[in-house]
Amino acid sequence: MTGEPGLDRGHALDLLRQMVLIRRFEEKAAELYTLGKIRGFLHLYIGEEAVAVGTMQALGPDDNIVATYREHGQALARGIPAGSLMAEMYGKASGCSGGRGGSMHFFDVSRRFYGGHAIVGGGLPIAVGLALADKLRSRAALTACFFGDGAVAEGEFHESLNLAALWKLPVLFLCENNLYAMGTALSQHQAQIDIRRKADAYAMPADVADGMDVLAVEAATRRAAASVRDGDGPFLLELRTYRFRAHSMADPELYRAKQEVEEWKTRDPIARHVARLREAGSLGDPDLTEIESGVAAEVDEAVRFAEAGPWEPVEDLTRHVYAAVTP
């Protein structure tokens, strides 16, 4: 297909490795949650790996990223070390947010990763602001804003798309449509379920891609990003995907049929990518083993790092409420 990145073997294997890392990291996180090491809420990205990995290919180090509370995939794909993320979920001071945020609030300013937001729709205005700052400072960068299908119901979605389009801000709105806003199916909360079409109301270009196909995601995101970088204003890209696990660890999934989940699992992005690579002769069993064992080692190391990390001293409780130095 034209416009798609060529199946460069190195690149393709790298995409696979990144997806496998996310998968195994999330599985380990689930296990640690049941052991009480990770507390609070845990929202797993399993099934959606192609979205984080594919989109990240179109972003550079100068671009900003705003994400949701289901942001482990984006954080790992962005290059935040797994240990730093695991330690954050443990609540350790060596976590990326100093142990202050936990699973839902990963921040890494050095990688322009602006969270980790727990209020649905709450990150969109911030993304608009970051893009506004870049435009005012003539900084050639875009702001990628991840949000789910649930967020399109919030006022902020509409206000933010409108404002970004009105002021021609370089925002790449990335909607991870996994068909459920916690327990409410898209068809149950949207009169217009074709999310991509909502951009029409704001005279904004939009597209949709198969979120279970990492190469399709990459291709679509590159096109969308190019449009934003060209100065054409914001773009809405809808990625159709599915989460194989519950909304969070505490969800008995009464709202969807197990059969539906099984059907989507046949479209597992990792399995699909592996199959494609095998077919193209780019991947053999030794490659897969190497990737899996490398990832396993990375995840184990992340857990060790988290286990060994220090707790923030309670005396520092009021630190960082305000800046340390006030004029």
Partner: protein, 344 residues
């Protein structure tokens, strides 16, 4: 340009570097200085540009600085406040105007969950140097949805700072101080103050945030207030003076952080305190001041701290009803009388 009559015509140049100007002009001066002096500063809000500002504060600034620096926004409080937060994260120094505190409720999520929280939640990586200005208060027969005084709600939140200038000099001084803060500052401008005149030092330094001001010294009772209630409190003090009761009036200027040291020092002298606050009495900001006086100055009190606040009602429209709901000089005087009468 200038068809409506420039506001400059209203200014009278005083001696030295002091100029007499209105509260709104003082803010405008502050905005102008900020926009001229720092390319990172820009304004954002409803009708701040073409309309000239709903309270005429930003009048002329669009023409002077252009649409990139003075931005009219859609009626999207949540998003343009959130965009202010994002722009601050991105290195700018936005000054967001929420037309009135009544509309700020739409932006409370961005204010509380983002502006106030990002620094702590990110482990210190992020700071939000954002300034938000809002008109506040009642007294203009605008009825229940347009007359709120919610400073107390905002002062409840750790991570942000709250100021309420009561004079033109402070309106400019606190704005300039707010722009230097690395953390979000919310400036509450009582809508009845915009036309009030006062002396403003041209070369004024920013007014320190967190420092109250003694507007009138006295020995018999301390009247503590802020913002739009200062005028009434001073009136009450004048009336009390005629009766031989010498009141000290403290203008808090900052609500968070609160200058409890100055308040306590005054109470140590007068042994009596009345807090005047336009918010509703229950869970008011006045309740906080009262608690702090109790904690820090219990043994200096000869009487319980009194509060003069708004009645626990949605603001009515008819003038006599609205007047009855709000603190007035007469009710402040009465509170002092009650205090002196009952406790000697």
């Amino acid at each position: 340009m200038g068809a409506r009559g420039g506001p400059d015509q209203a200014r009278v140049r005083g001696g030295d570097a002091m100029t007499k100007m209105t509260y709104r002009e003082a803010i405008r001066e502050g905005l102008r200085e900020a926009l001229s002096g720092d390319p990172r500063v820009f304004l954002m809000g409803e009708d701040v540009g073409r309309y000239g500002g709903s309270f005429k504060v930003t009048y002329g600034l669009l023409e002077e600085f252009g649409p990139e620096r003075v931005r009219d926004t859609p009626l999207s409080e949540s998003t343009f406040v959130g965009a202010g937060i994002g722009a601050a994260l991105g290195g700018m120094r936005p000054i967001v105007e929420i037309m009135t505190v009544n509309f700020s409720l739409l932006a409370l999520d961005q204010i509380l969950n983002n502006a106030a929280t990002l620094r702590h939640m990110s482990g210190g990586q992020l700071g939000v140097p954002l300034v938000v200005r809002m008109a506040t208060g009642g007294g203009r027969q605008l009825a229940a949805q347009h007359s709120h005084s919610l400073e107390g709600w905002f002062a409840h939140i750790p991570g942000i700072k709250i100021v309420a200038p009561a004079t033109p000099a402070d309106a400019k001084g606190l704005l300039l101080a707010a722009l230097r803060e690395p953390d979000p500052v919310f400036i509450f401008e009582h809508a009845t103050l915009y036309a009030v005149e006062g002396e403003v030092d041209d070369g004024a330094a920013p007014v320190a945030i967190g420092k109250a001001a003694v507007r009138r010294t006295g020995e018999s009772v301390t009247l503590i207030t802020y913002g739009g209630s200062l005028g009434k409190t001073l009136q009450a003090a004048d009336q009390l003076a005629v009766e031989g009761i010498d009141a000290e009036v403290i203008d808090l200027r900052s609500l968070r952080p609160l200058d409890s040291a100055m308040v306590l020092a005054s109470v140590a002298k007068t042994h009596r305190a009345v807090v005047v606050d336009e918010g509703w009495r229950m869970c008011s900001f006045a309740a906080e001041v009262s608690a702090q006086i109790m904690e820090g100055g219990f043994y200096d009190l000869d009487a319980p701290v009194a509060r003069v606040c708004s009645a626990e009602v949605p603001m009515p429209y008819a003038k006599h009803m609205e007047d009855a709901a709000l603190p007035q000089a007469a009710t402040i005087v009465q509170a002092v009388h009650d205090m002196l009468g009952a406790h000697g």
